[in-house]
């Protein structure tokens, strides 16, 4: 029992240690990508417990900065298929267990 408890702790530590943002797929230009990634990280850290608020924050900022009709999904387990405008998609992992998908489609 103690062993498994320790194991879990190690896992959690491992995740925290390796919780750098990892971009899985994107076709954004360099600048946009960096900005969006940082925005996502900020939002997820700020609203660590509430995915909806984090997503809301990301979406509204993206709308202001890059034009209308952005969509944001944050979660730990989901599958998706979306149509997005070319060069306006970012799919990344963060925090060891969160996946964020941001795309534009008006």
């Amino acid at each position: 029992m103690a062993g498994t408890g320790e194991g879990k702790k190690e896992e959690a530590d491992y995740k925290r240690m390796n919780s750098f943002p990892l971009i899985r797929h994107t076709d954004m230009p360099e600048e946009m990508r960096v900005e969006t990634m940082e925005l996502c990280v900020t939002a997820c850290e700020k609203f660590a417990t509430n995915n909806e608020s984090a997503a809301k924050m990301i979406k509204e900022s993206m709308d202001k900065k890059f034009g209308s009709s952005w969509h944001v999904v944050i979660g730990e387990g989901f599958g998706f298929e979306v149509t997005h405008e070319v060069k306006n998609l970012l799919y990344m992992f963060f925090g060891g267990s969160l996946a964020v998908c941001v795309w534009k489609c008006s």
């Binding site: 390796n18 990892l22 899985r24 797929h25 979660g75 730990e76 387990g77 989901f78 599958g79 998706f80 298929e81 979306v82 149509t83 997005h84 405008e85 070319v86 998609l89 799919y91 992992f93 060891g96 267990s97 969160l98 996946a99 998908c101 795309w103 489609c105």
Partner: protein, 588 residues
């Protein structure tokens, strides 16, 4: 009953009186008489006016299209050209009326044909709502595309782990490359190729395994035969045996080439190499070096195209990834199977002393004192300044410096590495070029030779004359000793037959004589070091594998014990030889 009622009898009451209703006026007189002056008499009027007028009222409506109405209208406009408000209009009409005494037109009458509007309490306002101008669409909307993925915990975990591994690799590379001059460039290159290779390699390995599985499934019966089939009919065949065909190895691009060399790999007993080229001296083109595995007969494991025909090859005993190859154009080359790319690691050129004639045999030897890899090559060009030209060669298994050379003239020379100018011994073996000489695997004195003069001869190197001679009725392309017995050997001939002999059982006749290919020459044969199979190459580029039936694989005569060990083989051979020697000794 009222008193004035008419009293009728019963019959009169029941009497039915019909009354018809007509349009005739009942009050209209029916007996009007008129005086006709013409006839000067009273005449009854035939037609009486039936109309009864109940009510008459003179109205004041004038039909608008009638002449009177038109006249009225016209007069109205003449007098009062404007369409004036009602009150004025009414006065005008009154004035107008005086001019036309006959009309009974009234106000209402005149108003109706004309639509007049009161400016004070009747106002007309027309307006149209603002239609939004049609938005002009841009010529092309921004391009869209679809993206789909699955976000699971395990995918995230895997991605992180991969990333960490990559980072670690990068760090290691950075440390090692820092020392080199063009470190940056290399790092980039390595990164690029690695990422590409990783993907391909992962698929490649798996694909290879699946290919082999498919192959095994497709050729399931052959695989079963290879493993388990033992020809039971051998018991009834006495001493005769058979060879059972197994896989056929063929590569498209070798169609026009002959198999010129075969060699099994000692480390991986399912891998063998095939050298391809042409024995036709007039038609010399390219050649190929191909490696097959028994596990996949459909496609070679390694392919090396060469510019000249391959005539011989040898795989190093310990370092089984090194292959020495001799070419028709006199070059020798060494290929490293571990390296990628199709170029040999080493190739002799005119400068480095290549032969001027085709290289007929190459042979790996032990590493010399400097740990260099050594191999020997035999070629048709002047062999160590003597006139004879070599066509085949073999090193002794135990005695390091001793080797045999078979020549074009049919002689066999026993030579030593230390004496490069002299033969230790010469045997007048054949009348035509010696195709193959091979030492026996077990008995140190015995070797076998075959030639295009249709014969196979077995020798004891201490004696000048052959111990056994076999006439196979066709030019013998190749002969090979079996690795498991000192008395078994196999030969292939140009008529497409494989002959298997076991001297222990039958000293004069083959145990198996099987026609394998029709119309094509068999060029080479080799025994597998471990499995009871042989591979046979022919002049079409085909290599076929055969399984030896139990009769051919006997190590001992029936009924005897089965002691193991090479000494037994030696003893066996010695027995045979002594039988032959004794009569000689007696005669001598």
């Amino acid at each position: 009953k009222p008193p004035e009622q008419l009293e009728l009898t019963e019959t009169e009451l029941k009497e039915e009186i019909t009354r018809t209703l007509t349009a005739n006026n009942p009050h209209a007189p029916q007996n009007i008489v008129r005086y006709s002056f013409k006839e000067r008499s009273y005449k009854p009027a035939l037609v009486v006016d039936q109309m009864a007028v109940h009510f008459v009222m003179e109205g004041n409506l004038v039909y608008q299209d009638s002449n009177e109405a038109r006249r009225l209208e016209a007069n109205l406009t003449v007098c009062f050209p404007q369409v004036t408000p009602v009150e004025d209009g009414a006065e005008a009409e009154k004035a107008g009326e005086e001019y036309r005494p006959d009309s009974a037109a009234s106000k209402a009458d005149k108003k109706e044909p004309k639509v007049t509007k009161n400016q004070f309490n009747f106002s007309e306002r027309a307006s149209q709502t603002l239609n939004n101008p049609l938005r002009k669409l841009p010529t092309e909307p921004p391009q869209r595309c679809t993206f789909s993925a699955n976000a699971n915990q395990w995918e995230i975990y895997d991605a992180y782990v991969e990333e960490l591994q990559k980072q670690e690799k990068n760090k290691e590379k950075q440390k090692t490359i820092q020392l080199k001059k063009d470190g940056d460039k290399k790092k980039k290159k390595m990164m690029l190729t690695e990422t590409q290779n990783d993907d391909i390699n992962k698929v490649g390995k798996v694909a290879k395994i699946i290919e082999r599985m498919l192959h095994q499934n497709t050729f399931d019966d052959i695989a079963q035969d290879f493993k388990y089939f033992e020809d039971a009919s051998d018991e009834f065949r006495g001493q005769q045996g058979t060879i059972l065909p197994l896989w056929k190895f063929h590569y498209d691009k070798t169609k026009k080439l002959s198999v010129t060399a075969l060699c099994w790999n000692k480390k991986y007993p399912d891998l063998f190499s095939v050298g391809l080229g042409s024995y036709n001296f007039t038609k010399q083109g390219r050649g190929m070096l191909v490696f097959y595995s028994l596990k996949n007969s459909a496609f070679p494991e390694y392919i090396y195209p060469t510019s000249s025909s391959v005539l011989c090859l040898d795989i190093h005993e310990q370092r089984s990834y090194l292959v020495a190859v001799g070419f028709y154009d006199g070059c020798v080359a060494v290929y490293n199977l571990k390296r990628e790319g199709q170029e040999p690691v080493y190739k002799s050129t005119a400068k480095t002393g290549k032969h001027t004639d085709p290289v007929w045999q190459v042979c790996w030897h032990n590493d010399d004192m400097d740990n260099n890899h050594n191999f020997y090559s035999v070629s048709s060009d002047a062999f160590s300044s003597l006139l004879a030209c070599g066509t085949s060669m073999d090193f002794h298994k135990q005695i390091d410096y001793l080797f045999l050379v078979g020549t074009e003239e049919g002689k066999i020379h026993k030579c030593s590495k230390t004496y490069s100018r002299q033969y230790l011994e010469t045997y007048a073996a054949h009348s035509m070029p010696v195709d193959t000489v091979k030492w026996n695997h077990f008995h140190p004195n015995v070797f076998i030779s075959c030639s295009s003069d249709w014969t196979v001869k077995i020798w004891d190197h201490t004696i000048n004359t052959p111990m056994f001679t076999f006439d196979l009725k066709a030019a013998v392309g190749d002969v090979a000793w079996a690795p498991y017995s000192s008395t078994v050997f196999a030969a292939v001939t140009t008529d497409g037959t494989v002959h298997v002999f076991d001297l222990n059982i039958n000293k004069y006749e083959p145990l198996c004589q099987q026609a394998v290919v029709a119309k094509h020459r068999l060029t080479h044969i080799e025994f597998n070091p471990i499995h009871p199979i042989i591979i046979v190459g022919d002049d079409r580029g085909y290599v076929t594998s055969y399984k030896l039936s139990p009769n051919l694989r006997k190590k001992q005569m029936k009924g005897q014990e089965q002691p193991k060990g090479p000494e037994v083989e030696v003893v066996k051979m010695e027995k045979l030889l002594s039988l032959l020697r004794e009569p000689e000794q007696n005669t001598v």
